[in-house]
Subunit: 733 residues, 2 copies
C-alpha cells in the first residue's frame, strides 16, 4: 500500500491501460543511469559498426509493407504503420493469433463482443449532476425495492402485531442514512480525486484495514449482483407467477447477459441509466403520492394486517436483526465518493450536492414506502414482493402496476450493472497496489477488465445458485460486507482529519466518528444477529480475503525487490571488464548478478540424442555463436555409447563430445544433474542449453513425439545460470 | 515396414533398450561424412584454442565429485562415476527428479515397484524344453478351461439333445489343431530368429497385412487378459459361490495386480510358471484318467443330460458357431514361434519339439474333456463352470475338487500374464517399425515397457467392465482376432516358401496353405456367425487399428525424411563460407537448411516490457553474444511509449530500441507479427528472441505472474528460423 502508492495523482481513481507498466521511481532511475555508465565504459572498445543491424527495424527499407507468409495467412494486410521516428503502431490485424483455431476463436469473440477498441478510446467523460444522479444512484435507490421488505420479513417472525415496529425502525434507519450521508459528504470534499473505502481506510488505518475494506466491498459487489438479480427476477415473477419455477436459470441468464454486455465494454454511458432510474423514481413517487393521498382520505387509519402466527418471541435481538436487515437499503451510498473526478468542475461541490439529493431521495422513498406498507396492512409473503403487493393495492387496474414492476426490475438490473463497473475497478486499484494479481491491471481489447468481470460473474452466479435465487436468504450476508467498508472508511476519515489538523478538524472528525460509530454498530448487530443465518460466510470470507491479499502483496514485494534496479556495487567500477584469472570457488559469484555483457562467460551445451538434421542444425547454431561448445549424448547402454562416438568421429569430431551412459535409461534426470554439476564447477559460467524442438503442425501428431524438450526445460528452469534455447525444426509436411 | 527393418538381426525378436536410438544407415553415414568435411573446411581459420572449454566436461579436474547444491538437495552423493575416457556413467541418484514432489513420487514408485534395474540386467535367458513347455504353453493349455464350455454353451441353445454333436465337433477341432500346429512347426524352422504373425505377414504380404495381423493380435492380447481373468474369477466363484456378486471388482483387482507385478518387471522367469502349469496338467490328466476309467466301468454309457428346452433350431449356422467357439482353445498356439531364440541350441529343433508336445497335450485335453463331459451328461449353467461340475462329479469328496479349481484359476492367471509379456513386445516391434508411437520403445527404469503395460491393463479392464466379467459374452469377440492373425501368418508362410523356392517348397507351402485355409475358414465362420453377438466390435476395431497404424507410419516417415541427413548440395562446396553481399529475396533461402556454423546470420531480439533486473540481464546476455541486437518494447499507448524511450535514453541507449504502440493492448500478437515481418524481410537471418522468465518456486505463486514467456514461445514456434531463448530469473526468496 505505502511504498507503491506514490503521489496523490496515482492514488486517484483514474483507470489507464498504462498501469501495467508503472514508471521507475527516482532511485531506480538513478541506478539505471549508473548501470548505463558502466555499459558505456565496458563497451567503448567495440569495433565501429558492430551495432549495425542487418535489417531495418522500422520495416521501412523493405519498400512495401511485409506480406504475411505462413504465419499470418491473412492476405497482404498492413499490420504495422510507421508512427513517429523509431516507432511502429500495430494495426488491428496484428492482434490476431497465429493459429487457425485461435483466429476462429478471436473472430467469434469479436462477433459477440465487438471489434477491439483503441486505448485512446478510454472515456474520461464528465457528468452533469442530473446525469450523475441516475448513474450513481441506481444501486442505492434500487435497494428500496428489497430493503423495507427485508426488515418486515424479520419483524413478521414475531407475529403480525410486531409489524407496527417498522415505523420506529424506519425512523432510526433514516437517521442512520443521514448520518452516513453527511459523513460521506466530508469524504468527497477531503478526497477530490475520488477515493473508495479501500483507499481511505488503507491510507489512514494501514494496509490491512484497507484490505479489510476492500474484502468487504468485494463481498458487497458480489452480493449486489446476486441480490439485485434475485430481487429483479422476483419482481418479474411477482407479476408473472408462471415463471416462478425458473428463478435460478433466469437469474444466471441475467448475470450472463450482464457479463456479456460488460465484456462488450458498455461504458457507464449516462443515457442508458437516465431513463430507467428516473422512471423508477417517478413511478415510486406517484405510488407514494397516490397511496398517502388515499390514506389521508381514510384519516391515516391503518388497515389491519392479516393475522400471522408468531414464530419467535419479540425480543431485542429480533428488532436489531430487523434493523440491520433494513440497513441493506444503504448499499451504494458510497458510489459518489468513488466517482468525484467524473463530475464537472467544481467536482467536489457538484459531487456533494448530488450525494445530498441521493440521500434525501433514499430517506423519502424508504420512510414513505415503509409507512405506506404499514398503513395498507401488507405482510411479506414468498409469492409477491411487498412493493408488488403495494402497487396492486394502490393501482388495482390500469397499466401502473405493470409499469412499476418493470421499472423495478430494470433499476435492479442497472444496480447489478453498477457492481460490474465497480468490482473490476476495485480489483484494478488493488492490483496496482500489489494486493491482487497483476492480471487485473490488464484491459482487454474492448477496454474492459475482462478478468475482473469474469471473476464477479462467476462468484455472483455461484452465490445465486447456492442460495437458489432467494433474496431473503441472501440479505443476511449482505449487510456485513457493506457496513465493514462504511465503518473502516469513516474511521479512516477520523484519522485523516486528526492528522491534517486543518481548520474545524474537530467538528469534521466528530461527524465522521458518529458515522463510523453508527455503521460499526450496524456491522456488529448484523454480524451477531445474523451469524447463524448466513453472515458467518462473510465473517469467514473477509479475513481469508485479507490474508490472501496480504500474501499476494508479500510475493509482489519479493518480486519487486528482486527485480528492482540497484546501483552497481562500487567494486570493479567502471573500467575494462575484469576477467577472473581462475574459476572462482563454487557459490562465490551468483551469475544472475552480472549486468555487463562483457562479464558474461558462456558455455554452450547441445544435448544430442542422435545425429540428424535437427541436431546438426543445433550444433551449427551453437557453433555459430562463437562460444565454447560442448555436445552431450545420453546413452542407455555401453554399446550404444560406443556406436554414437563412432558416428561422431565419422562426422569429424568438430566439437567436444561427452557421452553419459544412463544405465537406468532416464534422460532428463542425468542430463539435468550433469548440467548442474558443470555449473557447480564454475558458477560464473552461463550455460546455454540448445535443444532442437520438432514442431508438429497437427495436434493429433503430438502424442507421437516425446516431450523431451519441454521436460528438460521444466527440469532446468530452477537451475540458476542455465539458459534454455529452443531451436524449432519444422517438418516438410 | 520395409525401409526401416534392415537386416535379419534387427527383425529378430530381441528387445534392447538401444532401440530408441537406431543406428544411421549407410547413406546417412556417408552424408554425415560429407557434412563433416564441409565443417572442416569452413572452420579451419578459427584461432587455435578457440575450442578450449572453460570446464572439464568429465568433471575430473574438479577433484571431488561435484556436490549437489540447490537442485539436488540429496546430501553429497556421487551422481556420476567416470567410465572410459570421455565417458560418464550416471548412478542411481542422478535419475531422481529435481522437484521435491517429483522425488517423493519417485520414491513411492520405487517402494512399490522396486529399485531401478540397469540396462545390463536385460535377460537373454535360454530355456530348456521342460521349462519352455510351461512358460509358453500356459496360455494355450489354460484355454481348455473355457474352450469346451464355450462350444457346449452354443450347442445347448438347440436343446439338450444337440449336446451329442460335441464329439464330432471336438474331432474336427482336433484336426484343426494338428493342422495349425504342423503349419506353425514350419514357421519355427523358417524363422529361427523368431517371428510373430506381425513380422511373418508383414514380410511376405506387405505392411498392411502385417498391421492387420498385429491388430488381430492386439485385440487377442486384450481379450486373453479379459477372458482369462473372467474365467479364473469364474473358477473361483464356482468353488466359492458367495463371491459371485463380486465378479467385476475381483477381475479389475486381478488386472491391477497383474499390472503392478509386470511394472515391477517380473521377468518370464520359468520357475514361476513351471509349478502351476504342471499342476494343472497333472490335475487334468488325473481327472481324465479317473473319469474315463469310471466311464469304462459303465461301458461308456453316457448319463442322460437333464432336459433342456431348445431356444433355437439346430441348423448349420449354430453348429458352425459352436465350432468357432470351441476354436478359442487354440489361442496361444503361436507363442513358440515368437520365442524361438529363447530356446537352447539347436533352437529351431527344440522349439519345434516343444510345439509338438504342446499341440499333442492340447488335443488330448480338449478331446478327453469334451468326451468326459458328454459321458457325464453335464450341461453348461451360469452357476458353475463345466470343468468345476466335472471335477465335482468325478471327485465328490476329498481335496481333489479344490485342487483342480485352484490349479485352473492359477493357470488362467498365468495365461493373462502371458499377454502382459506379449502385448508390450508387440507394441515394441510395431514402434520399431514406425507403426506405433515411439514411446513404446522406451523401457522404464524396471526394464519393463511401462506404457505398453498400462495400455493393455486399461483396455482389458475396460472390456471386462463393459462385459460385466461374463466369459460367455467375451468369447464371440475372441476367435476373430486370433484366427485373423493365424490366417495372415500362415498365408505369409505360403508366400515365403514360394519366394524362397527351396527344396521341398511345394510340400511346405501346401502344409501352410492348409493351415491358412482352415484358419481362414474359422475366421470367416466366427466373423459371420457371431457378428451380432459381439464379433462386430472386432470387425470394426481391426480396420481402425490398421488405419491408425498406417497414419502413424506415414507421420514417422515424414519425420524421418525431414530429419534424415542428406549430402550437402554441391553448390557452394567446401571452401570459405559464402557471405551474401545483399539480403536475398524473401523466401529464397529457408534458414532451416543451413548446416554450417559460419553461414548462420544472427539477429538477437530482446522484448523488453520494463527496465528491471530481469530485462537488463536479458540485454546483457544478448549483447554478450556479440551479434547484432535489437530491443523491442510494446506499449499500450503513446504516452507510455514516450516514457519508456526516456528511460531507455537515461540508461544510455546502448542498444537499438524499437517501440511498437499496440493500441489494442495485446502484446503477443503484435510481437509475433513484428518478428515475422522482420524475418520476412531477411529470410536468411536466424532471429534469436531472448525472453527473461521469472521462475517462481511455489506453484501457488504462478497465477500471480503472466505467462507471457510461454505464450510468446507458443506463438513463435511455428515461425521458421525464430529461436526462443528463455533466461531464468530466480527470485531472492
Amino acid at each position: 500500500m505505502t511504498e507503491r502508492n506514490g503521489g496523490e495523482g496515482e492514488r486517484a481513481t483514474v483507470v489507464t491501460p498504462s498501469a501495467e507498466f508503472p514508471p521507475l521511481d527516482p532511485d531506480e532511475l538513478r541506478a539505471l543511469r549508473r548501470i548505463g555508465d558502466r555499459w558505456q565504459v565496458a563497451r567503448r572498445d567495440r569495433p565501429p559498426g558492430a551495432d549495425t543491424l542487418p535489417v531495418d527495424p522500422t520495416l521501412r527499407r523493405h519498400g512495401d509493407q511485409p506480406t504475411p507468409t505462413r504465419f499470418g495467412r491473412l492476405a497482404p494486410i498492413a499490420m504495422f504503420r510507421v508512427g513517429e521516428p523509431d516507432e511502429l503502431v500495430a494495426t488491428e490485424p496484428a492482434n490476431l493469433p497465429g493459429t487457425r483455431l485461435g483466429r476462429a476463436v478471436t473472430r467469434l469473440r469479436r462477433a459477440l463482443f465487438g471489434p477491439p477498441l483503441s486505448s485512446a478510446a478510454v472515456l474520461y467523460e464528465r457528468m452533469r449532476k442530473l446525469v450523475a444522479l441516475p448513474v450513481l444512484s441506481s444501486d442505492l435507490l434500487s435497494s428500496v425495492a428489497y430493503g423495507p421488505e427485508a426488515m418486515l420479513a424479520v419483524l413478521v417472525l414475531a407475529g403480525g402485531d410486531a409489524l407496527g415496529l417498522s415505523l420506529p425502525l424506519a425512523a432510526g434507519l433514516a437517521l442512520l442514512m443521514v448520518a452516513v450521508g453527511v459523513s460521506y459528504r466530508q469524504t468527497v470534499v477531503a478526497y477530490p480525486h475520488g477515493a473508495g473505502s479501500y483507499v481511505v481506510a488503507g491510507d489512514n488505518l494501514g494496509a490491512r484495514a484497507g484490505l479489510a475494506a476492500a474484502a468487504g466491498l468485494m463481498v458487497d459487489y458480489v452480493l449486489t449482483v446476486a441480490v439485485s438479480v434475485a430481487a429483479g427476477v422476483h419482481a418479474v415473477t411477482s407479476a408473472l407467477p408462471e415463471l416462478a419455477g425458473w428463478t435460478v436459470p433466469l437469474g444466471v441468464l441475467t448475470i450472463a447477459l450482464l457479463l456479456a454486455g460488460n465484456l462488450r465494454g458498455v461504458r457507464t454511458a449516462g443515457n442508458l441509466f437516465v431513463l430507467p432510474t428516473y422512471a423508477f423514481l417517478v413511478a415510486l413517487l406517484v405510488l407514494l403520492a397516490v397511496g398517502w393521498f388515499r390514506a389521508a382520505g381514510r384519516g391515516f387509519a391503518p388497515v389491519d394486517p392479516p393475522p400471522v402466527p408468531a414464530a419467535e418471541g419479540l425480543g431485542l435481538l429480533l428488532v436489531l436483526r430487523a434493523f440491520s436487515s433494513g440497513a441493506v437499503s444503504m448499499t451504494g451510498i458510497e458510489a459518489v465518493s468513488n466517482a468525484v473526478p467524473a463530475f464537472r468542475p467544481p467536482e467536489w461541490r457538484n459531487a456533494r450536492t448530488t450525494l445530498g439529493w441521493m440521500v434525501g431521495m433514499l430517506v423519502l422513498l424508504f420512510v414513505g414506502l415503509t409507512g405506506l406498507i404499514h398503513l395498507a396492512g401488507l405482510v411479506p409473503t414468498p409469492k409477491a414482493t411487498l412493493l408488488s403487493q403495494l402497487a396492486r393495492v394502490t393501482f388495482p387496474t390500469g397499466p401502473w402496476y405493470g409499469l412499476i414492476q418493470a421499472a423495478t426490475a430494470l433499476i435492479l438490473l442497472l444496480a447489478a450493472n453498477t457492481a460490474f463497473n465497480g468490482f473490476p475497478r476495485l480489483l484494478f486499484f488493488m492490483a496496482r497496489a500489489g494486493h491482487a494479481p497483476r492480471r487485473f491491471l490488464h484491459m482487454g481489447d474492448r477496454l474492459a477488465f475482462s478478468d475482473g468481470l469474469f471473476a464477479l460473474a462467476v462468484a455472483a452466479a455461484a452465490v445465486l445458485v447456492a442460495f437458489r435465487g432467494h433474496t431473503e436468504s441472501l440479505i443476511p450476508l449482505y449487510a456485513v460486507g457493506v457496513f465493514l467498508a462504511f465503518t473502516l472508511s469513516q474511521a479512516g476519515m477520523v484519522v485523516h482529519w486528526r492528522r491534517r489538523h486543518g481548520p474545524g478538524w474537530g467538528r469534521k472528525a466528530a461527524v465522521n466518528a458518529v458515522g463510523a460509530a453508527l455503521s460499526g454498530l450496524v456491522l456488529l448487530t448484523a454480524g451477531v444477529t445474523k451469524f447463524t443465518a448466513g453472515a458467518w460466510v462473510v465473517v469467514v470470507a473477509v479475513p481469508l480475503l485479507v490474508l490472501l491479499g496480504g500474501a499476494i502483496h508479500r510475493h509482489y514485494r519479493v518480486l519487486h525487490r528482486s527485480l528492482a534496479l540497484h546501483p552497481p556495487p562500487p567494486g570493479p567500477g567502471p573500467g575494462p571488464p575484469v576477467v577472473p584469472a581462475r574459476p572462482p570457488a563454487a557459490g562465490a559469484a551468483a551469475p544472475e548478478d552480472e549486468e555487463l555483457p562483457e562479464q558474461v562467460r558462456h558455455l554452450v551445451v547441445v544435448p544430442v540424442a542422435r545425429l540428424n538434421r535437427a541436431s546438426l542444425r543445433a550444433l551449427a547454431y551453437a557453433a555459430s555463436l562463437g562460444q565454447p561448445t560442448l555436445a552431450v549424448h545420453i546413452a542407455p547402454e555401453e554399446p550404444e555409447a560406443d556406436r554414437f562416438r563412432e558416428q561422431w568421429r565419422a562426422w569429424g569430431d568438430h566439437l567436444r563430445l561427452e557421452t553419459i551412459v544412463s544405465p537406468y535409461r532416464a534422460v532428463i534426470g542425468p542430463l539435468a544433474h550433469y548440467l548442474e554439476a558443470l555449473h557447480a564447477s564454475r558458477t560464473d559460467l552461463v550455460l546455454t542449453v540448445i535443444v532442437p524442438e520438432v514442431v508438429v503442425r497437427s495436434r493429433w501428431h503430438r502424442p507421437l513425439h516425446s516431450r523431451t524438450e519441454q521436460r528438460l526445460r521444466a527440469a532446468l528452469r530452477r537451475l540458476p545460470g542455465v539458459v534454455v534455447t529452443s531451436l524449432p525444426v519444422h517438418l516438410d509436411e
